[in-house]
């Protein structure tokens, strides 16, 4: 395998890829957590947020928080099912790590360009529900159990529109591989004009909106944060967790937000590609381009999160089953008709 004309052995390549994946999840969680949770929310609420740690606008705050969590005592409730309780956060984090495997950041820079790309990413993202249910049940706490049940009900309901929203993109690109979807957007054309390629956000705008709404629910972010609703359930399935196990949940939450933002940027905004940039410069610019697009998508997600109030449980289910899924099915039918007709 050659990257930037460098020849690298297979074993070293594998170790390097594993290292990248291990670094990118906590890093993504830190960047998103700092930029949006600490700074953007503060400014939207006319306050400054943490300003001291690290000097410049308190950028060190989350690293410090992380170090603090690592020092804390590892508390397991007496009635808890110890093994299940201890293993639950690991499953949530593993599901986040696995999602990054297929997300490309350049023409060859991808850990594994699977033929089933986007389908794989959505399949492994659904594994985190098992971790959430394990956490809620093993805590031996009514609040935690209620949170886990809400999470499971919500994630089952919103997985369908999430998958169905992507079907339109897959049909248009003719492949499920994320590299294939990126190159379909880079080399495509809008009604014969190929100036900026064909980012699917234009032709699949309904799919994009459905994907963003369903991703928001998959991430349990407001207005879909029933599972962790702090005013009624304290913190839902996380209520008994502390120390580094809580840190795992935190990294899982923001790492998955990074993954979904990157996935949305790849599926609908052209991923690492930029109009007119090919070859080596695409290789070098790719990560930066994807990062900018990812932050744009994440900005939308967190903007909604800090703006809207929480939905009621029955409204939440009604939106998924009576509203999102029929629209997603209609979107697939219309895409199929247009694809066959033109």
């Amino acid at each position: 395998m050659s990257v930037l004309a460098l020849e690298i052995g297979w074993g070293w390549m594998l170790a390097f890829k594993a290292l990248v994946i291990l670094l990118i999840v906590p890093l993504g969680a830190l960047v998103l957590g700092y930029t949006f949770l600490l700074k953007m929310m503060s400014h939207m609420q006319s306050r400054l947020g943490p300003m001291d740690p690290g000097g410049f606008h308190g950028w060190f705050q989350l690293v410090g928080d992380g170090l603090k969590f690592l020092q804390k005592e590892d508390i397991i409730p007496e009635d808890a099912d110890r093994r299940v309780f201890a293993f639950a956060p690991v499953i949530v984090v593993i599901s986040t790590f696995l999602m990054f495997v297929v997300i490309p950041i350049g023409p060859v820079a991808v850990v594994a360009n699977l033929d089933v790309g986007v389908f794989y990413a959505l399949a492994v993202s659904s594994l985190s529900v098992i971790g959430v249910l394990m956490a809620g049940w093993s805590s031996a706490n009514k609040f935690a159990l209620m949170g886990a049940l809400r999470a499971a009900g919500q994630l089952i309901a919103y997985e369908l529109p999430l998958l169905l929203a992507v079907v339109g993109v897959v049909m248009q690109a003719g492949t499920m591989s994320l590299q294939g979807i990126v190159s379909a957007q880079q080399n495509g054309s809008i009604f014969g004009w190929s100036g900026i390629g064909n980012p699917f956000i234009f032709t699949q705008i309904i799919g994009f909106l459905l994907f963003m709404i369903a991703a928001q629910a998959e991430l349990s972010q407001t207005p879909f944060d029933m599972p962790v609703a702090e005013s009624e359930l304290v913190a839902g399935y996380m209520v008994e967790y502390s120390g580094f196990r809580f840190l795992f949940f935190f990294i899982g939450e923001f790492g998955t937000a990074t993954a979904f933002a990157a996935l949305a940027a790849t599926l609908f905004l052209g991923g690492w590609s930029l109009p007119g940039v090919h070859g080596l410069s695409a290789e070098l610019l790719g990560p930066l381009v994807l990062f900018v697009k990812l932050m744009g998508v994440a900005f939308l997600m967190f903007w909604v999160r800090f703006t809207y109030p929480r939905l009621r449980e029955d409204q939440l289910q009604a939106i998924a089953w009576k509203f999102l899924i029929p629209i997603a099915l209609a979107n697939i039918i219309v895409t199929a008709i247009i694809k066959v007709a033109f």
Partner: protein, 162 residues
């Protein structure tokens, strides 16, 4: 092929031990969690057979939905903690029945495939798989769809109270 064989045996042993765990444990939630390992092992075996799409369908449907619904149902109704007395006096009949099933399936597989070898050089493309399903096997596919739809409607009819 040596690496594939080693991987097969590791996964197979893990699957068998977890499957025994499913029936041995006295806690329903633990049984469901052992089932996750068995189903994940099946997905791993599909990957060894280069059937990528089937493997991830297995993960999405069985682990991501079926087991979740199991756990959801268990937790919604009883949410048992600790060891429960779920045993009954049918251990021996169950043992004999499962042994008979293992024997039948083994005999059937050996009889049908014997020493025939399948050569796999690359993962099956999803596009090949989908054109097979929608060209060659369209009638069975649609029949299964209608069966599932009927089951769905039937479940709603049974659950409705009016």
């Amino acid at each position: 092929m040596v690496a594939q064989n080693v991987a097969f045996w590791i996964i197979a042993i893990a699957m068998v031990l977890s499957a025994i765990g499913v029936v041995r444990t006295s806690n329903v939630v633990h049984a469901a969690l052992y089932l996750v390992i068995v189903l994940a092992g099946a997905a791993a075996q599909y990957i060894l057979l280069a059937a990528e799409f089937v493997a991830w369908v297995q993960v999405l449907i069985y682990i991501g939905a079926v087991v979740i619904l199991f756990l959801f149902g268990i937790m919604l109704t009883r949410s048992p903690m600790g060891d429960l007395d779920l045993d009954n006096s049918q251990r021996m009949p169950a043992f004999v029945a499962s042994l008979a099933l293992v024997g039948t399936l083994t005999a059937l597989l050996v009889d049908a495939f014997g020493n025939s070898k399948v050569v796999i050089d690359a993962p099956t493309k999803t596009s090949v798989l989908s054109s097979d399903i929608f060209r060659l096997y369209i009638v069975p596919f649609e029949a299964v769809s209608i069966l599932l739809l009927a089951a769905l409607v039937g479940a709603i009819v049974l659950a409705r109270r009016d």
